[in-house]
Symmetry: C2
Subunit: 528 residues, 2 copies
């Protein structure tokens, strides 16, 4: 293996025994003057972070405070928010206790056995990650399912997996704004499934949303089981430790107090203004080094632990939506960001370590090691070779791969957790939330808005409106078959190509009839 002296290693090894956590930057090749040059930027980042935690309008574009750190330290929250946070967490624990005891029960009696979470993006990625990371079929109090898209085929399959347990299914609809179309559609599809089974949806549903939102109003009018608040100072991608994540986690049976406590402990460690003692500061500087402060390299996330398989998907949103910005805070066009991908090791070694070692040098790796390989350790575990366990191989592959990459100049960071439980999930989330926040300061961007997501939604709405016009025209001329070009002329739009795509979509779903012709010259008429 590549020789690194223990002294060099030690210099780049942050170890926090109390947190059971370490960060190893020894496989990054920092220039000699790197840390000296970073220090003023980091000090500025610490100051901005302190202001943010103090209640400054850190998300200037949207004129909002950024308060996700208060969720696990209510005593730091300004105004009266600390009290509100504590009340909400108490409300969650009370509701969950009643569900588990059966005092809040399904319409037809018995107990809730299944949990269907309907949400997308920040309202699903955290809950999905945590459900997978901490879930265990031997212990889960409710079995989790998700509607995280507007694919009707996908929703049908999820309902099929719930099967006969639909009457015992508790539905949580999560949408901060209450206006997300995918989530609205999912709610209506679920509503319909309950209705067809002769059940009242509201007697099986709870909402997590901003007070007064469209979703909140539905929940009130249909007398849902419960409503839990979201606040405008919690962004979707940092909402896992609000009701968005805590409610489903507690329902599945996880210790949400431990999650909050773990996050609070990591927050305390990452609040320090001494760079070398602050693991998030070290990581943010590592990102700056590895990507040139410009996203010049992708971040490949390789946790060597099956439970962390969905972590990179969670990080894709947290990192890419926070950092992927056109302009910096001074209005300069910068096209920032860091691309994130990865699944798990050693599995991914067999998919693409070939390219990582030999191919395009366009990445750095974030290895995540979990020391405890199975609950209770491996002292009495099966030996796959004399004195060697499956977990020894997992460890060997991580450090072996790290070395094989470093031999070829491919850099990596290694994060080590003592074990993986609710507290460590909280620590991981807090670590990356803080790293993203500090890194955003280093590159001078607003990490808390997402101005680029509206254009696609607007275009989708235009397409839905165009489809209405197409269907109307064809119904009004039920005897006639038209090409896309003819329809576009009739309804006076330039969008003849989009009309063509709509015609194909509608025909394949039994809502138009094909009437001859090839490709863009194909004709369609209304179904008679």
């Amino acid at each position: 293996m590549t020789q690194i002296s223990l002294e060099h290693f030690q210099k780049y090894f942050y170890d926090n025994a109390e947190l059971g956590f370490s960060v190893d930057l020894s496989r990054l090749s920092f220039p000699a003057n790197f840390w000296g040059e970073m220090e003023p930027r980091l000090q500025k980042a610490f100051e901005e972070m302190a202001a943010l935690e103090g209640g400054a309008i850190a998300n200037a574009d949207e004129n909002r405070m950024v308060g996700h750190y208060w969720l696990r330290a209510p005593e730091l929250a300004p105004d009266n928010w600390g009290k509100t946070i504590r009340q909400t967490n108490k409300q969650i624990l009370n509701f969950v206790q009643q569900v588990h005891e059966g005092t809040i029960a399904p319409e037809r009696g018995g107990k809730f056995t299944q949990l269907l979470l309907i949400g997308i993006g920040g309202s699903a990625l955290g809950p999905e990650f945590v459900a997978h990371a901490l879930g265990d079929p031997r212990q889960d109090k409710l079995t989790p399912h998700f509607f995280d898209n507007t694919d009707p085929g996908g929703m049908e399959r999820t309902l099929a997996a719930i099967g006969d347990e639909l009457p015992n299914t508790l539905v949580i609809v999560v949408s901060k704004s209450g206006g997300t179309k995918e989530t609205r559609n999912g709610m209506l599809e679920a509503h319909n499934a309950f209705h067809e089974a002769g059940l009242h949806f509201g007697r099986h549903a709870a909402a997590v949303t901003e007070v007064g939102s469209a979703l909140d109003q539905v929940a009130v009018s249909e007398r849902w089981l419960a409503r839990f608040p979201m606040w405008d100072w919690v962004g979707g991608r940092t909402s896992e430790l609000s009701a968005v994540g805590l409610l489903p986690a507690a329902l599945q049976g996880f210790d949400i107090q431990a999650m909050l406590q773990g996050a609070a402990e990591m927050d305390a460690a990452t609040r320090l203004h001494q760079t070398q003692q602050n693991p998030a500061a070290l990581l943010s500087a590592a990102w700056f080094h590895a990507t040139g402060g410009k996203g010049a390299k992708d971040m490949v996330v390789l946790p060597y632990k099956d439970q962390l398989e969905l972590f990179s998907r969670y990080l894709q949103q947290l990192i890419m939506e926070s950092l992927g910005k056109e302009k910096d805070r001074d209005g300069n066009v910068v096209h920032q960001g860091i691309s994130v991908y990865g699944n798990k090791g050693s599995t991914d070694q067999h998919a693409y370590v070939q390219q990582l070692r030999d191919g395009v040098a366009n990445f750095f790796v974030t290895f995540i090691e979990v020391l405890q390989k199975r609950p209770g350790g491996e002292a009495d575990a099966l030996q796959v070779e004399p004195d060697v366990t499956s977990g020894d191989f997992l460890n060997g592959f991580l450090y072996g791969t790290r070395d094989a990459l470093f031999q070829k100049g491919r850099e990596s960071v290694t994060i080590t957790l003592r074990q993986l439980d609710a507290a460590f999930v909280g620590k991981l989330i807090a670590l990356f939330e803080r790293t993203v926040g500090l890194y955003a300061s280093l590159i001078n961007i607003n990490a808390y808005h997402q101005p680029g997501v509206e254009a696609g939604k607007r275009a989708a709405a235009d397409i839905i409106a165009l489809q209405e016009k197409v269907l109307l025209l064809l119904r009004q001329n039920a005897e006639t078959a038209f090409t896309a070009r003819e329809i576009a002329a009739k309804i006076e739009t330039q969008e003849s190509e989009m009309v063509f795509h709509l015609l194909r979509h509608l025909e394949a779903n039994g809502r138009l009839q094909y009437a001859g012709g090839d490709g863009v010259e194909a004709r369609y008429r209304t179904v008679t």
Copy 2:
């Protein structure tokens, strides 16, 4: 929306009504002379592909033929391989029929209800993709589970999900070489679980491997239920349509004849030497344009269909392991490849379209559209708004996002499938296998070897050997606690850092005792 004339669109729109399939390159901005300059390279690629299909030693480094196309066209296979392929497929169908009928039955009687596939990389990614794409809890004949790693915690959870059904579980161990450590470990862990339940593993197991491999020998000696062959002319990442993928697919209840037929039809279309009539040629040229022929941009794969959620993981191996090469076929150092990531739309829009639209312009998108949004279409589907279905939104988000990206100069390819069933899964696999092969010719690399994967495995083996020495020393000095540095000196290795990592791993798993000290100065002794 951005205006593209129907004429321009038509020029870059490949449509094959017979295949129910189209490729749209209209959102790539090709230079005027692009296709003329590509044509000689493409003609050379067609010739190389024809030689490969004719049985040439296309994988020169490993002195092997490359025969995955023969799997669905046995009549094209050289020597006597066609007969062998047909026999194997018949053997699979016979075995599966007997399992489904219960004539091949579990040790304690009844029928097999669960399927546990043990494999990794090319022996798992295809089966996992297909199990998820075509699986349906309402219809599956066996419920699939996977060991795809050497994480003991992950294996325990999979066994927990199987639970009381272990006696009715059929295990397939898949390893071409029969020597992959993760798969060997998984087999031993499963063996142990059956043993602890008082069951004979061999009476529940089948192997897919090369005749005579270590795995094959175990299967013979333990009298497993069946053995299915792999051949040296099928690479792991192109083995989905060999026994590796066909056996689990058929066991789950899928129509593998349709998969093979779909692939054969796509093969016929992608065998043409006319660039504009060959969708794989068009795609390979599109990759060349989008990445500069050097992997300068990542490929973001966004299928708007939940069933295709694992397709990008399958493509990560197929594309990155095939193309990620240090040297071209003439020995020049080129560091080739294309990085691949993505999950599904519209879900991923809510994760990172912010960065795609506004941030680093380091990617192109491959949209995958499935026209039929649910089985049977949506004529009678729930309307989420008057005359609008959930599937209409899925369609709107795809084309809306594509347009939002194109407005900002972000390029994309759109692949459209009429529906998603076994035949279309075969078509998709065949399309990308051929595209990878043609693209490799365009950039003059060997797509069929993987010389970069050995270094990590060797380093892992070194680490396992080092661990043995560490454990031995500590046992021989049971009274003494050592630091990593002291141990390294005693066993005469320079690897003191790796010894430190091993000590932490062993202690966290109950196999060493911590005896004071911080960080790299911590002391450990053997467990007494």
